[in-house]
Amino acid sequence: MGEIRAALAIARKDIRSFSRYRVAVVSTVFTPLYQFVVPAFLFGAAFAVNGRAAGLAATLGTDDLPGFIFLGGLIGGLISIAFWGIAFSLRTEMDTGTLEPSWLTPTHHETFVIGRALGSLFWFALSQVALFGLGVWLLGLHLRLEMLLALPAVLCAIFAMVGIAYLLAAVVLLIKEANFFVDTMQFVVGMLSGTAFPVTLLPGVVQPLAFALPTTYAVDILRAQALGARPLFDPVLEYAVLIGLSLVSYPLGRWAFARAEETMRRRGMLAQY
């Protein structure tokens, strides 16, 4: 119970401190909008024949261009918070010198990651509501009731991403130049997960990597159930693999985080960066 209270307090602290930076709050909506959503929509629309995304229909089995982009962006946003909102924020604490005092409190160190995940999920949910609202208003995004059927896949992906965030936090705490690592890895994982295009278009040599990521199945299930897109495999099998990978990634992440912490204690790295 004490750990849950601590996690909620960490989340509340993160939400409060981030809300002080108004421009940064607005950019959680604006940045994905200009970096991905609007350019991807206009790029896709440039291939439209008589207002219909015939090419996308041939590739994926659905001509719902806004749906394809926004649902990919949803999982892309989840990947982003695992990398920046959770893993890299520990690095920020390290840089500002507050990680040591935080870790001297009786709260479990793993709880800090959970608290940060909850805080990041709050901003993620708000930004997605704003983005989907703008999508419906400006880009012709159609929300359907059957989209809710994909909710279990999103929840599984969130669980898996917390596990991956532990793993990333371990790496981020141990390396000195974390910015480049986080930036590039977030992009690579997003692309390998098929957030922007189907993974079948990736070169054959990197496809096994894509199929080892839980987010690949989350994106695919989401698009299949919400848009009627052609799935990569049988959806039941995809669900089984997604649940399996989520169950593996969480304990693996916790183990890696504990090892990184032990290494830092032994080498006295906590205050070094």
Binding site: Y34, L42, G44, F47, V49, G55, L56, E177, M191, F197
Partner: protein, 279 residues
């Protein structure tokens, strides 16, 4: 030594300082070999997903973009994106960085012209920019098998070279303007976002609403990207794009004058309010 020669020496010293600082952080150069390859490559794959190799979809794209060659279209757009990124994060934030380090006041008490700290850091963008263009052409050749004719490459290099003053001026205007703001990061995102949406980086300008197209054609990067695509994809000559180049050079002059005016205004205001040391 006359005043002009002294300022020219100070300008070269400012440029040398920026280049030396870049050399001290070699990991920053890693990104120059990663992003120009993978970022546009991902958009080319998006193009494959959107076209589905459907001849009608490709014909529709060609009608709007002027070519069916999605790879060259996207890579040229991203060359400009990377250039703008280097410019805004580098030269665009140089004065602000000096302000944060507390060295801006010290620079201002030297007898060198104020134009030196305003335009000097822009030189540092030329090195990453050159690397970005080389990496982009190498990627097009090695991964997509696209080798434009040598003449077209040479002519597009001339378009880029003639576009440098305008981008340089944009960097100086941005550098002067951001002295007013406390947080530079979100402003860089906002301005870069504006260029990405307006200048036809990843999609044809024809896809924008008419009012946005009018704004797009007031921005030099729109002309540079379009001219490079015309030269590389449609076989246009330098003579064909000469009117555009004249507009870009004129816009460069206007932007540089505005940058100097903004900088002078902020400096006068700073003298009165003592804001140079505050941030």
């Amino acid at each position: 030594m006359n005043l002009f020669a002294a300022d020219a020496r100070a300008f070269l010293a400012a440029a040398r300082k920026e280049l030396r600082q870049q050399r001290r952080y070699p990991t920053l150069f890693l990104g120059l070999f990663f992003w120009p390859v993978l970022l546009p490559a991902s958009w080319v794959l998006m193009g494959h997903a959107y076209s589905g190799n459907d001849p009608q979809a490709l014909a529709a794209f060609a009608e709007r973009a002027g070519s069916t060659n999605v790879a060259v279209f996207v890579f040229v757009g991203y060359a400009m994106y990377m250039w703008l990124s280097s410019l805004l994060w580098g030269a665009g934030t140089a004065l602000r960085q000096e302000q944060l380090r507390g060295s801006l006041e010290a620079v201002f008490v030297t007898p060198a012209s104020r134009l030196v700290p305003l335009f000097g850091p822009g030189v540092a963008v030329l090195l990453p920019m050159g690397i970005i263009f080389l990496v982009i052409f190498a990627t097009l050749w090695l991964f997509f098998g696209v080798v434009p004719p040598l003449g077209a490459i040479a002519q597009s290099a001339v378009v880029v070279a003639l576009g440098i003053p305008s981008l340089y001026a944009i960097g100086a205007l941005f550098a002067a303007s951001v002295l007013r703001f406390g947080e530079v990061g979100p402003i860089v995102q906002l301005i870069r976002g504006m260029f990405v949406l307006a200048c036809g980086i990843t999609f044809p300008v024809a896809m924008l609403p008419v009012w946005a197209q009018v704004w797009a054609w007031l921005m030099p990067p729109t002309y540079i990207v379009d001219d490079m695509r015309r030269v590389l994809l449609r076989g246009a000559s330098l003579g064909d794009v000469a009117p555009d180049i004249a507009i870009v050079l004129a816009l460069a002059g206007v932007t540089a004058l505005v940058a100097v005016a903004v900088f002078r205004y902020l400096e006068t205001s700073a003298r009165r309010s003592g804001m140079l040391g505050r941030f």
